[in-house]
């Protein structure tokens, strides 16, 4: 039911436990198989990180081979063979020159690591130019995006143009908890802390779908707080913005269709208290805000990018949300069970699926 990702895992060749083998395996994995692979960067900043990590990994691999080699060599050379009695050996207490050598050698390697590290820290902290600004709100357990200059509000699925910096301002309600925004192929992660305003810049080189999820344990459904970033060519992105700014597809009062019934239920059952539909009486917000549903039917997924948006999943969701994704609606976290009957659900699904 959780058809969040459709591609299936392909059996992959086994590899040894060493870091070197690991690096080979990881770089050999296409990002298609591993959509959250930090070693398949798709943005400048993620590439900076990846390059630095690869450099570190190579150094570490060299040290690893040398030290483990030394251990194995020592052990093999000086071990007692079967049946051999322990021999008296010289009681050597140490060697100051050696000590100095193996103090300085690691220090030099680390100094070599420190230079690019500091460079990259400051490079990645540089303010973006001509960026799209998005305020990201972390909620238990979904993401809300507000495009500051474009006036678009959406949830879980972020749309960005390729080749342009996207400056994210990370916030959360003061009554919420800490989350962490992470789309591994586009950037490192950054925490979303109540009472703090953090920022991070992401971007994408190529159009496509980039997966991510909350990386800081945020309670019951932490595992189910996922997200997606869709990168578009600039023209396609503009088209998406335009479609988001279009008026919501609300069925007219006179309409006797299922969708119209659904819209009435949406108001009468209290959905509108948490879910906004722009330009209507459904204002949303409140103590327990839910995703803005103005263009719900443009999204591929729902409920923290967890489920594919289709009639079947929506029916199960409306029948008992917490059974599909554990939540605590009594504590204002997540969607309550509204006790809807089959006809009501059918009408609501029709209404929601019509919110194009």
């Amino acid at each position: 039911m959780r058809a969040a990702v459709s591609t299936r895992e392909k059996p992959r060749r086994l590899a040894g436990g060493s870091l070197v083998a690991m690096a080979v395996v990881l770089s050999a994995c296409g990002s298609g198989d591993t959509p959250q692979n930090t070693l398949a960067p798709a943005s400048e900043r993620a590439r900076n990180i990846d390059g630095l990590f690869t450099f570190t990994l190579i150094l570490a691999a060299v040290v690893f081979v040398l030290v483990q080699g030394a251990i194995i060599y020592t052990v093999v050379k000086f071990r007692l063979k079967k049946g051999e009695e322990p021999k008296p050996v010289k009681q050597i207490h140490g060697n100051t020159r050696l000590e100095i050598a193996w103090t300085i050698a690691p220090a030099l390697i680390l100094a070599g690591l420190a230079v690019p590290t500091v460079q990259t820290i400051f490079e990645n902290a540089e303010s973006p130019v001509d960026a799209i600004e998005i305020t990201v709100m972390g909620h238990q357990w979904w993401w809300e995006y507000e495009y500051t200059d474009l006036g678009v509000v959406t949830a879980n699925e972020m749309h960005i143009p390729v080749g342009r910096d996207v400056f994210l301002t990370l916030e959360t309600d003061t009554t919420d908890v800490i989350h962490s925004f992470w789309v591994p192929r586009l950037s490192g992660k950054r925490d979303v802390v109540p009472g703090h305003v953090n920022t991070i810049t992401i971007s994408a080189d190529e159009p496509g779908e980039y997966l991510g999820q909350c990386a800081e344990f945020c309670g019951l459904s932490h595992a189910n707080m996922r997200l997606r970033v869709y990168a578009h060519e600039p023209a396609d992105f503009d088209a998406w913005v335009a479609s988001q700014l279009a008026a919501a597809a609300i069925p007219p009062d006179t309409d006797e269709s299922l969708r119209s019934t659904g819209w009435e239920l949406f108001i009468s059952k209290g959905c509108a208290a948490c879910h906004a539909v722009n330009g209507t009486e459904a204002a949303g917000g409140g103590l327990n805000p839910g995703p803005n549903l103005t263009h719900f039917a443009q999204r591929n997924t729902f409920a923290g990018a967890l489920f594919e948006r289709n009639d079947e999943n929506l029916r199960s969701w409306l029948a008992n949300p917490s059974a599909m994704k554990p939540m605590q609606p009594d504590l204002n976290r997540g969607m309550p069970n509204l006790g809807l009957n089959d006809e009501e659900i059918t009408a609501l699904v029709a209404f929601l699926q019509g919110l194009t």
């Binding site: 692979n37 070693l39 030394a70 008296p88 050996v89 050696l98 908890v177 802390v193 309670g219």
Partner: protein, 655 residues
């Protein structure tokens, strides 16, 4: 293993408490307390291991359905809490308790009753936290208990966690004060600081780390409890409280805590490697200084746990560089261990296998640790399975391997019988293979973007294979532990008798009987060198090779004490356990106010009874006490008894 509560096979002479369970409950003997620490820690290890197995079962395949999210969150919270606070810390305390006094030639710790109190408070605290399972569920806010998640939860689970850690903190603090005092004041004649075994040094560094870091998290835990129960606003962002404060307080404790967990294992390995290489520890002073340096630097790197919290590039640079520097003393240790084996006559007994395994696995954990100090890279690794892999290489590949090295090394000393070698080797290889199968794949999972603390993951993320491998590995580890338990029970009953010095050891514990008599040494040893016992056994020939001397120093120490009543052992006392019961009753009462006021009153009553009884108990020394109240952690009676031990022991030698 969990039921080993009989007296050791040899019943030593001297003033003895009544036998049976009562003797254990009231014992103030550091060796009995050490055994109890060890057995309790092993029981919690099995509990934490079972939690881990359920976690691995749940994650074996995507969309796992073994447990639901709620249960999963409880399981990983308790797995971390149990392994850190209820297994590795107390088992290090077990080794410290049993061997630190013997290794410095003392007859007990400075404050024997306080020592018993430490143990009983630890056990009470461990049972308190674990009992939450039956009383509303395990804590579910992760072992780091980040606020405001920890202050937000309405159920009492996180109260159990915060209160439990406070209780455990008291136990650790008392233990630390006791160890510091013991090491500073009770060393045998000639046992200067720089003749102490490295294991003792590491115990001392750990005691200082505990004394300086515990109060920081104590303040944080009080704040959480106050926020949750009394409406304070420490972590309430709506009114200006700052959740990041908790992270600072927690990691100011939490990072030294990492060294609290690993340094005792490093100490053990620094004893085992020389013994089985038949060489002294290479670069003793450097190993000691490196250990102290690690402890010192450990206070300056806490914010590397917060590289994604938005500290700003300047602070991130500072903490990143500081973190890198820790690799230097760590490297010094690894190279010196190698130097110890180099040119030695290395026999691969089970303790040696685990010690070498430690060096190899810890090196991997150290290297992945360096990659965390690369701040930009850490923004990818943080809170991913890469971090899980890293700290398991440090704390399992490191600490646990070191601990088992110590178990196989000293089991014969403690119980008089050696653990079986073939079974021990089977244990090692199963654990070595299982460990690497479990945790090596987690590097890949983390770099592939798998966050930690997730109860379930989607198909198609490229995580399926390695998760399955890790789960298989975890059950191989479980099998290895089963082999160990069988070995322990069998060897305890009918293992090969150890004799006083089965490994031709170098340090003082091998100079006394196995198990040592209640008074440890018939005569307080006089120490002339590092590895003093070795040099009392071996002289040097013309080629500077050791030759066995004719005199056997064990003849001296194994004999009966000259005059029995010269060695006054501290009397058993039931006030420590009573005080611990009082504290935990108080804590339970606090969780169910207002009806809990009754329990709190009862707890306070029991505590008062215990404190007064404690203060007035030492009838030989009416002046011994007067301030034996809980807060000061003072123990006048114990002091007198301990001072007497030193004094009368010395009398023995002078006669």
């Amino acid at each position: 293993m969990a039921t080993v509560v009989e007296a050791p096979p040899i019943s030593p002479p001297g003033a003895q408490p009544k036998g049976g369970i009562w003797a254990w409950l009231t014992s103030v003997d550091h060796k009995k307390i050490g055994i109890m620490y060890g057995v309790a820690a092993m029981a919690f290890f099995i509990l934490g291991g079972i939690e881990a197995l359920v976690i691995r079962l749940q994650l074996a395949v995507p969309e796992g359905s073994v447990v639901a999210e709620d249960a999963y969150n409880q399981l990983f919270t308790m797995h971390g809490t149990t392994m850190v606070f209820l297994f590795v810390m107390p088992i290090s305390a077990a080794f410290g308790n049993y061997f630190m006094p013997i290794m410095i030639g003392a007859r007990d710790v400075a404050f024997p009753r306080l020592n018993a109190l430490s143990f009983w408070i630890f056990l009470a605290g461990g049972i308190f936290i674990s009992s939450s399972f039956f009383l509303g569920g395990f804590p579910d806010g992760a072992w780091v208990g980040y606020s405001p998640l920890a202050t937000q939860a309405e159920v009492i689970r996180m109260d159990f966690w915060a209160l439990g850690l406070l209780i455990l903190g008291v136990a650790s603090l008392l233990g630390a004060v006791n160890f510091i005092t013991t090491i500073f004041t009770m060393r045998a004649p000639g046992m200067t600081l720089f003749r102490m075994p490295v294991f003792v040094w590491m115990q001392m560094v750990v005691a200082f780390l505990l004394a300086f870091s515990l109060p920081l998290v104590t303040v944080g835990l009080f704040q959480v409890i106050l926020d949750r129960n009394f409406g304070t606003l420490f972590y309430d962002a709506a009114t200006g409280g700052d959740p990041v404060l908790w992270q600072h307080l927690f990691w100011l404790f939490g990072h030294p805590e990492v060294y609290i967990l690993i340094l005792p294992a490093m100490g053990i390995v620094s004893e085992v490697l020389p013994t089985f290489s038949r060489k002294p520890l290479f670069g003793y002073q450097f190993v000691v200084f490196a250990g102290a340096a690690i402890g010192f630097l450990g206070f300056g790197v806490w914010a590397h746990h917060m590289f994604t919290a938005g500290l700003g590039p300047v602070a991130e640079t500072a903490f990143g560089l500081m973190t890198m520097t820790i690799a230097v003393p760590t490297g010094i240790k690894i190279f010196n261990w190698l130097g110890t084996m180099w040119g030695g006559s290395v026999s691969f007994t089970t303790p040696m296998l685990f010690a070498v395994g430690f060096v190899a696995m810890f090196t991997i954990g150290g290297l992945s640790g360096v990659t965390h100090s690369i701040v930009p890279a850490d923004t990818q690794q943080h809170d991913s399975y890469y971090v899980v892999a890293h700290f398991h290489y440090v704390l399992f590949g490191g600490a646990v391997f070191g601990i088992f090295s110590g178990v196989y090394y000293w089991f014969g000393k403690v119980f008089g019988r050696l653990l079986d070698e073939p079974l021990g080797k089977l244990h090692f290889w199963l654990m070595f293979i299982g460990f690497n199968l479990t945790f090596a794949p987690m590097h890949i999972l983390g770099l592939n973007g798998m966050p930690r603390r997730i109860a379930t993951y989607g198909d198609g993320l490229g995580w399926n294979l390695w998760n399955l491998v890790a789960t298989v590995g975890s059950f191989i580890i479980a099998l290895s532990i089963l082999v160990f338990l069988v070995n322990a029970v069998r060897s305890y009953r009918k293992g090969e008798p150890a004799g006083a010095d089965p490994w031709d050891g170098r340090t003082l514990e091998w100079s006394t009987t196995s198990p040592p008599a209640d008074y440890n040494f018939a005569e307080v040893p006089i120490v002339d060198a590092i590895d003093d016992f070795w040099y009392k056994k071996y002289g040097e020939d013309d080629n500077h090779l050791p030759v066995r001397l004719d005199t056997d120093p064990r003849d001296l120490s194994a004999r009966e004490p000259d005059v029995e009543h010269h060695v006054h052992l501290p009397s058993p006392s039931y006030y420590p356990i009573l005080l611990a019961v009082g504290i935990v009753t108080l804590a339970y009462g606090f969780l169910w106010l207002p009806i809990g006021y009754l329990a709190m009153a009862a707890g306070l009553g029991i505590m008062l009874w215990a404190i007064f009884g404690w203060a007035l108990e030492d009838i030989d020394h009416p002046m011994g006490d007067g301030n034996g109240h809980g807060d000061g952690g003072d123990d006048g009676g114990g002091r007198d008894a301990a001072a007497e031990l030193v004094g009368s022991g010395a009398e023995g030698t002078s006669e």
